[in-house]
Symmetry: C2
Subunit: 463 residues, 2 copies
């Protein structure tokens, strides 16, 4: 089970913190706890109203059967899965592949992959990436999973048109048999094409937004295709939902996570929320978190329509690597951050650092320890040093990197984000700020019905 260790978010856990301005005072923690029943009440009301549809992803028996049947049938006929998607249609799949399959999956031999396919996620319209992928991948052996909830995302549709032509040039009418869509159950261009061309299409549940969709068919189909235990993922996710049942803040870990980060931002200037797992296997999960947190909480207006320009800035980092990149700033820069570490107790395998005769004396201390020990020693040292510098930090601990633990972590953070939306009093499920950019792009691309010209100002100043 995932645990939250939050002592170093509190004033009495930080040097320079007691009677100082660093960290959250115990009495303010009590204030958060007193306010929590109202938060929980609002969440229950909105969940009943259907706003928090991602909670229900823990019950997907039919979808799991459909996905498993697909993966074990058609899926096995291919040795490369090519996902076309962007944002919430890409980041979750990358996080799952990174966490739950061996490192550098695509570089492994068929035997080392246990004959599961390679997986490439194209999440941009950069022509060098798309052209490179189409040169690398054999169209006769590929399964293309096009993922767009709306069925009309410009980047994904552009990729789809390119990839469809590439398949048809290689395979003729058989091209459609190499495609599967994941999209809205009823609407959109992908649904229309699926029905016309007889392409199988999995549903993204209507009540689940893109950045909350990793545990829907959006993430589950690619995961199942590469051999990830999707039932384990959902069982872990169910644990996180259970953890959010208590009406007492101090017993509800995802809610406390959200409340502490909101308080750090609102009361103590901790406007930058760093997620820093000490595991290479969670690097992409930190990227996934960046979308979840930024797009859900970064809002101009609150739920009553008042202008608030709210939203913490999420930053991803990986330890120990980023101790040699970001930690100097975290230790000594402005007091504008709250850092969440993720500690994996058992990484699954470890490597002993050998004792080698005749090594220089100042390397001798390493021999006989393991890399895993060194990694966790660095994590504890960094957390401790930050506390001495008066820097708020907390730690999520997870027992291992099993599918259950990763599913639990993903759902824990989604549930926490839903709570944070209530603390910030914003709608965590919309993204109105990206519409203007879309209209400007459509205008530039000549889409009928759009005429939003680029502002010419500011273009002239250059050196």
């Amino acid at each position: 089970m995932i645990r939250l260790h939050y002592g170093r978010m509190l004033q009495d856990g930080l040097d320079g913190g007691v009677d100082g301005e660093r960290g959250i005072a115990r009495e303010r923690l009590a204030e958060l706890a007193r306010r929590f029943p109202a938060v929980q009440g609002e969440l229950r009301t909105r969940r009943t109203a259907g706003d928090y549809g991602f909670y229900d992803l823990v019950h997907q028996e039919a979808a799991v059967r459909e996905i498993s049947a697909f993966a074990e049938g058609l899926g096995q006929a291919h040795d490369h899965v090519l996902v076309l998607g962007i944002g919430g249609s890409a980041l979750g799949t990358k996080a799952l592949l990174n966490a739950l399959r061996p490192p550098e999956w695509n570089e492994l031999s068929d035997e080392a992959r246990e004959f599961y396919p390679r997986l490439t996620v194209l999440e941009n319209v950069d022509p060098t990436s798309v052209a490179g992928a189409l040169r690398r991948i054999d169209p006769r052996r590929v399964l293309v999973n096009v993922i767009s909830k709306s069925g009309g995302t410009a980047e994904t549709m552009a990729q789809y048109l390119v990839v469809r032509q590439w398949l048809e040039e290689a395979l003729g009418p058989a091209a459609a048999r190499h495609i599967v869509f994941t999209t809205d159950p009823e609407r959109g261009a992908l649904r229309e094409i699926a029905e016309r061309d007889g392409i199988p299409a999995l549903d993204v549940p209507s009540a689940v937004g893109g950045r909350y969709s990793v545990l829907s068919p959006v993430g589950l189909l690619p995961a199942a295709l590469v051999g990830i235990d999707i039932e384990g993922l959902l069982a872990g996710a169910a644990r996180a939902v259970e953890r959010a049942e208590p009406d007492e803040l101090m017993a509800n870990a995802p809610a406390l996570f959200a409340a502490l980060l909101w308080a750090a931002d609102t009361w103590h200037g901790g406007r930058i929320h760093v997620l820093m797992p000490y595991s290479d296997r969670l690097r992409e999960l930190a990227e996934w978190f960046r979308q979840l947190w930024a797009e859900s909480l970064g809002k101009a207006r609150d739920r009553r329509g008042a202008l608030v320009n709210a939203g913490p800035t999420p930053v991803g980092a990986v330890g120990a690597t980023d101790q040699h990149s970001q930690v100097q700033l975290f230790m000594e820069g402005p007091y504008d951050k709250a850092i969440t570490f993720v500690r994996v107790e058992d990484p699954g395998e470890d490597v002993t650092i050998p004792v080698i005769d005749g090594m220089p004396e100042d390397l001798g201390y390493l021999g006989g320890h393991s890399l895993g020990e060194l990694l966790l020693a660095e994590l504890d040292a960094t957390s401790s040093a930050l506390a001495r510098m008066g820097r708020m930090n907390q730690m999520l601990t997870m027992p291992d990197l099993s599918a259950g633990s990763v599913g639990e972590l993903l759902m824990f953070l989604q549930v926490a984000c839903g709570y944070a939306g209530i603390w910030y009093n914003v709608d965590p499920f919309d993204q109105p700020g990206v519409e203007l950019g879309k209209r400007l792009t459509f205008t530039a691309m000549g889409r009928p019905g759009f005429s939003e010209p680029l502002t010419p100002r500011g273009g002239g100043d250059q050196v």
Copy 2:
């Protein structure tokens, strides 16, 4: 040549900006220009004193000959280069590989790589990454490049001990012939081992710090081994150094870049500095920039010793991808960011979006355009939309992704960082804030002479 377009950093380039609080006023730009000769004077003095050693990397004829000879000799005997390094010993190499070799280099066939070796950078002590690499890579065909300026970096030395044993188990006494070091010319454990075991060792110039070392043998050797034009890199870098010659701010692009970002932070709350290239090929360069900016400018004390807790927080993003992750926050969240886009005019190849009969009507606008057009249309749309929302942003344009252009961009940003150090009045070449964490780690690992216990406080609060 790289150009800086800065009109949207200015008040009159932003909506809500004239007579408002958004952006830098023209008269304050004039103030920066008036103050600049003193900045340039201080830089010249400190450069003469040897503090800015990275400028001199554009003159490395001897090192280039040595590296080229090595790459064309011993280098060609191997089909995998394994770099052991962290922070400045890893990020630059990853940026070069990402920018200047085709995507997913290690997944390409020997022919597609023109028989240049694969390249793996191990930049962490995560045992799953290290064990995975040692399973994937054939020790008989590997060249291991161990990179540590001090020659004693704990993570890199731990990796080295593990990899050395792995090589010796496979190759016996021939192991040493598969290793090359890049380290201090005189000091440290790696230099000692090199002399004892007859291992070749390239020099990191003493006056060049880790995060400014990408254009030293630290980055140049791995780059040359995979076939990157290192003379082209340095020729481009020389252009950036020339660009920094003018004593007038408005004619000195790297200096203006630094001054605008300092002013955005200091005068307008733009404390988060986003670097957002619209190119997958510059994703790792943005990560490299994060280290450069964070570790150089994030400082507790200024150069006179006064407590300042300075330092903008750098954030990396990639367009168009992160329009579906970060841009909602950039558009609507707090006015605490200044965003630098990087626009690549010619990506080197492009892909036409086909017109396919019978496509749903609302995809029709895409057909006949290219992916490259769509990418740049999205970039211009996002910059324009941000300006309408009153959000400071600027754009670096580069003509292409040649070695020269990439070398110019790397040196441009390093030179800019050196100027920013002067504006912030901090030492951009030290990193005192990471020492406490190192001492705590050494204590935990039992290194003789270290006794800095973890602070136990704050450990008890958990849920």
